[in-house]
């Protein structure tokens, strides 16, 4: 819009009019009319299940539209499949990109359009093209064209997916929650890229749950609720477009638009925090393949946050603590006894539960029912001579589904039918039913909408109040700051500091998380303070 000057609205690149989509009795999209302008970032928000993903899918032709029309640059279009939309210049960057594990980044980027002469594959040209593309978009420092797909971090996988989309100069590009697996530095990089796309006149659709990002990046925010378009509002402070007269949207207003209600406090700060009890977990000098010399304690009823950038070793640490990966040094004292867990089974029996980072890949049995997914960890308590007491099973499952307010049509429905937030609640219910002494939560609200997030925060508080010690890994700083009593910060497999709730700020945590990138002096100071704290 910089080229068009103040006052004039940039042209509409993509317009959807009266689009509806049904899945059986479920109306996923109801009469959605929405516009996406060239040279603007339109953020698309809404709770999980509001229809965002469906909208993107019908946009690229992955799903047929029941009713309504789509216009690209003023011409009506119907895409038979994603290949057709791709040819027309409409791309979606998937949230969890499909990366071919055994081939290079360059081949992954150009898959389907490898440079070749008479079907002879030309590797030199491919690498040159890939390098050019990577450098042009400023990823030279973080992505090498000849790295093999299986060795990429989640962030790099995301970058490959983005570069794929950029190979054929798209008119419209949609990002589906691109930052859920990125660290803050990587997010900044992505934002720079998106701003560059905007300057080039690309219409950017940005789906995200993170208010901060949406306000930092979006020119407009379109909100979906229950499959309907609630409204599109300009974002304050990004430019002089306030001249148009439409009122600027605020965070509170946006949340109200999404959930149809006010969220007084997302983090339930008003709940009084109990004084922590005895030490439940005492980790002393623990090392594994990925982490080194880790020492900290978690007390009963305490919420300890484990912060750091992606790749800091937090998930590796918790996996080592529950025996999923071998511990090579140091000692773990659990409830007063020195323990060495050789498998997660030992840890579960001892009274530790882990709700892992990747809900679908590591926690849920997608084909099985909500009931079985909830009861998974308590079979040894509700069986008699190996036969499961089904009455007890149903009763227990019903109790915890109700307590966690899991929204499901019934406990016999496949867990794959639930939304992300409710799936996460099922995982929490599984551990609640077991009533562990220590509950480890790895990214408990990843891919969860604002409403469910608030509920999950309330659940975490409730659990701590009953005396469960909670160790929470999270990459969302506001979440760690809002929930944790103490925050432990890690970088490169080591603890770089520990902060009490009162003294913790986003800046302070980030400084510790990036300690290595700061001067040696600062690092020296911080190691000292962390040593003193533990």
């Amino acid at each position: 819009m910089t080229s068009t000057g103040p006052g004039t609205e940039p042209p509409i690149a993509l317009r959807m009019t009266g689009v509806s989509k049904r899945f059986g009795p479920v109306r996923a999209l109801r009469d959605v009319s929405v516009e996406f302008r060239a040279g603007e970032v339109t953020a698309l928000m809404g709770e999980n299940g509001a229809g965002k993903s469906t909208l993107l899918k019908v946009l690229i032709g992955a799903l047929p539209i029941d009713e309504g029309t789509v216009e690209l640059d003023g011409r009506p279009v119907t895409f038979a499949d994603p290949t057709a939309s791709r040819a027309a210049g409409v791309r979606v960057v998937a949230q969890e990109p499909e990366i071919i594990p055994h081939v290079s980044v360059a081949e992954n980027i150009f898959v389907g359009a490898l440079p070749a002469r008479r079907r002879l594959f030309r590797k030199g040209e491919l690498v040159a093209k890939a390098t050019e593309l990577i450098v042009r978009y400023g990823f030279g420092q973080v992505l090498h064209p000849e790295t093999v797909g299986s060795r990429l971090t989640p962030a790099q996988r995301q970058l490959v997916e983005i570069l794929r989309a950029l190979t054929d100069q798209p008119r419209v590009i949609a990002f589906d929650e691109p930052t859920s697996s990125l660290s803050d530095g990587e997010v900044e990089l992505l934002f720079t890229l998106i701003r560059r796309l905007r300057e080039q006149g690309v219409a950017v659709i940005y789906v995200s749950h993170r208010l901060k990002e949406v306000f930092a990046l979006g020119d407009r925010i379109a909100v979906l609720r229950d499959g309907a378009h609630v409204g599109t509002r300009p974002v304050a402070g990004t430019s002089e477009r306030s001249a148009s007269g439409t009122s600027m949207v605020t965070e509170a207003e946006l949340i109200r638009m999404m959930v149809g209600r006010d969220l007084s406090s997302l983090y339930h700060d008003e709940v009084p925090r109990p004084t922590p009890g005895d030490v439940v977990l005492d980790v002393a000098g623990v090392s594994s393949a990925d982490v080194h010399d880790i020492s900290f304690q978690v007390r009963a009823g305490e919420i300890v946050g484990l912060a750091g950038l992606i790749g800091a070793g937090r998930s590796e640490l918790v996996r080592a603590l529950i025996g999923a990966e071998p511990i090579t040094g140091g000692s773990v004292t659990f409830q007063g006894n020195v323990r060495r867990f050789h498998s997660p089974k030992d840890a579960v029996r001892a009274g530790i539960g882990l709700a892992p980072e990747e809900r679908k890949a590591e926690a849920l049995f997608m084909q099985r029912s909500v009931r079985e997914n909830t009861a998974t960890a308590i079979y040894d308590r509700i069986r008699r001579f190996r036969v499961i007491n089904r009455k007890a099973e149903r009763a227990t499952v019903a109790t915890f589904l109700e307590r966690l307010r899991v929204r499901t049509p019934g406990m016999e429905y496949p867990v794959s039918n639930l939304s992300g937030g409710n799936q996460q609640k099922v995982v929490l219910a599984r551990w609640l039913a077991r009533n562990p002494a220590l509950l480890i939560l790895d990214e408990p609200t990843r891919g969860v909408d604002v409403g469910a997030k608030s509920e999950i925060y309330a659940i975490i508080h409730e659990l701590a109040a009953t005396g469960i010690a909670i160790l929470m890994v999270s990459s969302e700083l506001p979440e760690v700051l809002g929930l944790a009593d103490r925050i432990i910060v890690m970088q490169n497999g080591r603890i770089t500091g520990e902060l009490a709730r009162a003294e913790a700020t986003e800046e302070g945590v980030l400084a510790l998380a990036m300690a290595d990138d700061l001067s040696d002096l600062v690092v020296g100071l911080q190691t000292e303070t962390s040593g003193a704290a533990t």
Partner: protein, 387 residues
């Protein structure tokens, strides 16, 4: 023979299939946009047990039987069984008689029945065992050798055969778990190895004689338990035991869990190695029971003949029964129907004097039709190699 099994199976698993389940599944799989919020019309279909909604539950259950993909497959199997039975009986009224069917059971049904049932188990847990045929042969050879060298001691012969089966299962399990060999490759190797050992021991021929004079083997071949021929009784007991294990015990739940998502099962506290090893031991043991029956039936132990191609029939039974090679799916009811179907097919064609080569054609065609029908129901998109 599948009657008692039918009761347990449906009684325990129909509850997930309420009338709307297929609709909901379609909606949510394709978008995630679907049924997060409770919808008024749907609740109550799975009310807690013992509520007045019982009648509606029953209706929903019946409808569920008709809509669920796995159950559709079972209905298809049942329909094909009826068609075959009707067709063969119209040509040869003696087909549907107790006498003929007992012969069919003591013929080949017992072999692919037993191995098919345990193949189902190993496929549900996410593995595969194509060495079952070789285990059947090897255990019969070893059993017959012990029989011959212990002065025709029936008990020792049976025990040694069963022991060999367990050892074979142990070898498979250890290779897969600690050798980190893919189950298909591992059991492809042991298929050849076990077969080779059996051929070396038997010098490629039939081992032993005089089984017909031993009480144990007479009982296995011609005796009866609870009104059923011994072999049919064994088959029914194995099927019922497996169904009970899968549906009512934590072991069964964990087997499905491991097959569906091994990482999640491990993090939830399941000792995966122990389960996988146990499953392969069960496969070896049940295959050895089939080996003992083989000894009783043909009067000698042999590494070739009836056991050739048995592994493929076993996988056929599991696949017809709704098992997915990705693991985590399948049930005993389907496998039992598949056994009946293959048995009817084979015996029916024998009764009608149709060339046995056509049996292979018919069996292959049937498997394809059943599996394609199942995949169409699941509405998978036709792209590339399916999972």
């Amino acid at each position: 023979m599948s009657d008692p099994d039918t009761v347990t199976d449906t009684g325990a698993t129909t509850s997930p299939d309420t009338a709307t389940s297929s609709d909901t599944a379609t909606g949510a799989q394709s978008s995630g946009a679907g049924p997060a919020a409770p919808r008024p019309g749907v609740e109550g279909t799975e009310a807690p047990a013992g509520t007045p909604a019982g009648d509606r539950n029953h209706v929903a259950r019946v409808l569920g039987v008709l809509t669920n993909a796995d159950r559709v497959q079972n209905l298809i199997l049942l329909a094909v069984i009826v068609i075959i039975a009707a067709f063969v009986t119209s040509r040869q009224p003696a087909f549907l008689t107790w006498g003929n069917l007992s012969i069919a059971v003591t013929g080949t049904i017992i072999l692919f029945g037993l191995t098919g049932l345990v193949e189902l188990l190993v496929i549900i847990v996410g593995g595969l065992d194509i060495s079952v045929g070789s285990i059947v042969g090897l255990s019969s050879v070893v059993g017959a050798l012990v029989w011959t060298h212990t002065g025709q001691n029936g008990g020792l012969a049976v025990l040694s055969a069963l022991l060999i089966g367990l050892l074979c299962g142990l070898a498979n399990g250890l290779l897969i778990i600690y050798g980190r060999v893919n189950p298909f490759i591992a059991t492809l190797a042991t298929l050849a190895a076990f077969k080779g050992i059996g051929q070396v021991l038997s010098d490629g021929g039939a081992i032993g004689s005089g089984f017909a004079s031993n009480a144990i083997f007479i009982f296995i071949q011609r005796g009866s338990v609870a009104g059923l021929p011994t072999q049919l009784f064994i088959l029914v007991i194995v099927a019922l035991a497996l169904a009970f294990l899968l549906l009512y015990t934590d072991i069964g739940r964990n087997v499905y869990a491991i097959g569906g998502n091994p990482t999640a099962a491990r993090l939830a506290g399941v000792n995966i190695n122990r389960y996988v090893l146990a499953v392969y031991l069960v496969v070896g043991f049940v295959a050895a029971i089939a080996g003992v029956i083989l000894m009783a039936r043909q009067g000698f132990g042999q590494q070739t003949g009836s056991v050739d191609g048995l592994e493929l029939k076993a996988v056929t039974v599991a696949a017809l029964g709704g098992a997915s090679l990705r693991g985590g799916r399948g049930g005993v009811l389907g496998a039992a129907l598949a056994i009946v179907l293959l048995g009817f097919l084979e015996n029916g064609m024998n009764v009608l004097n149709i060339n046995t080569f056509w049996q292979n054609v018919a069996q292959g065609t049937l498997l394809l039709i059943a599996v394609i029908a199942q995949q169409r129901r699941r509405k998978e998109r036709a792209i590339g190699i399916p999972d």
